[in-house]
């Protein structure tokens, strides 16, 4: 019996070109298929058009539509995939409001291989529970 390995997919949502480049590379190195967009509005539009991802890596502060509002909209649309918030913001109230918008997990920037390992582990643990 052969086992078909299916690559997981991630959507990186960040207005910072460096963050997009680094986060994309972090996921691709783990064998994930990655798409990157520059703000929450583009992320929401992808889902509206029928695109689906296993995990969304959502930055908090972005122009046009920020991470809090984008996460709120995605959850209101019925999007149930894993959404991980990332930010360098240290204000605890702002972080709480981001988490309260519907995140499955939150990590402080900058991301690195160890943090991505935890993000992926958390994703797999949640996946197994469902």
């Amino acid at each position: 019996m052969t086992t078909k390995l299916v690559a997981h997919s991630a959507l990186v949502v960040d207005d910072d070109v460096m963050a997009r480049t680094i986060h994309k590379r972090l996921f691709e190195r783990e064998g994930w298929l990655v798409k990157a967009v520059v703000n929450g509005h583009e992320a929401v539009e992808l889902f509206r058009q029928g695109d689906r991802f296993d995990l969304v890596l959502m930055d908090k502060e972005m122009p046009v539509l920020d991470g809090v509002h984008a996460t709120t909209e995605l959850r209101a649309m019925g999007v149930q995939c894993h959404i991980v918030g990332v930010t360098s913001c240290t204000d605890s109230l702002e972080v709480e409001s981001f988490i309260g918008a519907g995140l499955d997990a939150f990590y402080a920037k900058p991301l690195n291989p160890a943090k991505l390992g935890r993000i992926i582990q958390h994703f797999h643990d949640d996946d197994r529970r469902q």
Binding site: D15, D16, V17, M18, A19, T21, I22, R25, L26, R29, E61, S88, K109, P110, N112, P113, A114
Partner: protein
Amino acid sequence: MAGHLHKRLHDYTASLINEGILNEQFNQLKSLQDESNPDFVVEVLSLFFEDSDRLLNALATSLDQQIVDFKKVDALVHQFKGSSSSIGAQRVQAACMSFRWYCNEENIEECLKRLQQLRNEYFAVKTKLDILLKLEQQILAAGS
């Protein structure tokens, strides 16, 4: 030849970390470079230089307005803080943090001083990173 270049790069990177110019985040970034992405560090450093030039220009323009939009200035400094922390440029990151304090205070004089300090820290790290970038490019050219 390539081995010698690798050693020079390794030693130079270690010296930048010892001096506090870079932190461990830079090594984390470097670990993402491999045979499938041999120019990842060059790519990221080039992005950092372009983005930093853009942000410094935007900050100078924003602080030169008759009525300064401190929220806009703060947002620009926040971006700069983010990109500098992504590559481990910790002195630039620290300069951004103190700049943000004065954006919050809406203190134009201090913001102008912080901008100058940020420029100084950025150009100091850029000089060092330029050397690092050249070493990476030499290694790429040597084919290893």
